[in-house]
Symmetry: C2
DNA sequence: CGTCGGGTTGATAACTTTCAAATTTCGTGG
DNA sequence: CCACGAAATTTGAAAGTTATCAACCCGACG
């Protein structure tokens, strides 16, 4: 059977999926829902929220702090799973906000747990996918903790490019990117003003441009070097579970 | 059957474990190994490393950057699972270093995957545990991105206390902590000198002291307020999977 | 047209790092 | 049990990075 969904394609990187497993995955996709940009799909503290598999558009997951500032933990692009933690914990520990108009398939908790029960290998596969997400968060953490603003921004743009390329939404030379500098600043842990300056520096260095919703990578080698980028954490070779 | 190991106790928070499941978990504990402080148990890039369940002592997981600096992603304490990502990815994406002398049970990949196959609910339980770990990394990320040095340090000390309390290694008023200021600085994403100053400030404010390997919380309310600490992400009420 | 969100820039303030040096703590061998 | 050296902590001063505040520009949109 062909791999129908981007989600199935992603899991197939880890487990060699049987026909049964693929169709179990496809059945997981519940009602397709659309969300406008800007209004939260899930908010911190919400109980019994659903999970989603993102089909179209971009969303971000973030947490807000006392002072009203927020930290964006990650952006999700088509094929990504949303809100796994929210359902496993019953109450959501973060917010999910569409960056653009979004379409996503709802995944009901019961269906998910049920699928794990009937098709145990899929539980392992989802564990793997969750670990991959965790690896991205870890890399993000490392960047914020130990890279300066310029390296961090460069790294971010490279990682986004690599992820988009994996789902066929961009190439090594550039990609469309709907993120504002405010969104970027909340993700990179810096002020929007500083994001602006750093982007200008990167542009003046002839490394990347990010203008009018488009990222163009002009000097990949230079950017990779500046960012100390290693995509090992995104790239795994062949299924571990046969 | 009684819950034998701290690891089983942790998972029991999510799934109501049957006797079979508990004994499957206990069998997961392979050979008990001892490690001296300071020498890496797993290093970045290592292939086919094992996973471990920590029995005694503290370890840290970290990544090193080009410039030689490092970022500590998390500390693990007894009952924590080590190196899950390393085994699922086949090649380790981070280092694991004992902070103190350590004892840990080795977990073989095959045994782990085997257990998931035979006892599918345990796969879900481990997924839950991994999500909980991810939630901690996320909170860490938020702290580094959006909290200033003082808030971040306060938050860190509180989180550590809460975790230690869960495994019976500390109380609300204080705990033993083998971390040096260098370790702290690598975890908090700041310089060791600044860690020292911040600890002094916290001490002078009458909030906490951290001296001679012992953290004493003198003003819990004040500290909670300063750190904007919310332990929801550590604390879940009763098993979700019956 | 006028407004509004996003982008851009300069000036200043705040926070954090770095460098250097003194002091204390701690493990180990005598 | 004490002395010694290494490691960890502490403090000051100077430099560097990033945030904040304030303006101005621009294009989309009603």
């Amino acid at each position: 059977m062909a791999l129908q969904t981007p989600f199935a394609r992603k899991l197939a990187a880890f487990v060699a999926l049987s026909d049964d497993e693929i169709s179990a995955l496809d059945k997981l996709h519940g009602r397709r829902k659309a969300f406008p940009a800007g209004r939260d799909i899930v908010h911190q503290g919400q109980v019994n929220s659903s999970a989603y598999i993102l089909a179209k558009g971009w969303v971000c997951s973030y947490k807000v702090l006392m002072g009203g500032t927020r930290q964006i933990v990650d952006f999700q692009i088509p094929g990504d799973f949303l809100g796994l933690r929210s359902v496993l914990f019953r109450t959501a520990d973060h917010n999910i906000e569409p960056v653009t108009k979004v379409e996503a398939s709802e995944v009901m908790v019961e269906d998910l747990l049920d699928t794990f029960r009937k098709t145990p290998r899929l539980a392992t596969a989802v564990l793997w996918a969750a670990s991959r997400d965790e690896a991205m968060v870890v890399e993000h953490l490392v960047g914020i903790g130990r890279r300066d603003a310029k390296e961090r921004t460069a790294h971010f743009l490279l990682e986004l490019g690599a992820r988009l390329k994996l789902v066929g939404l961009g190439s090594i030379s550039g990609y469309d990117c709907p993120l504002s500098q405010y969104l970027l600043s909340d993700a990179l842990g810096m002020s929007a003003v500083h994001v602006n300056r750093v982007l200008r520096e990167l542009r003046e260095d002839g490394l990347v441009t990010f203008q009018q919703g488009r990222v163009e990578i002009h000097d990949l080698a230079g950017l990779l070097k500046l960012a100390d980028f290693d995509m090992a954490y995104l790239d795994h070779d062949g299924p571990l579970l046969k």
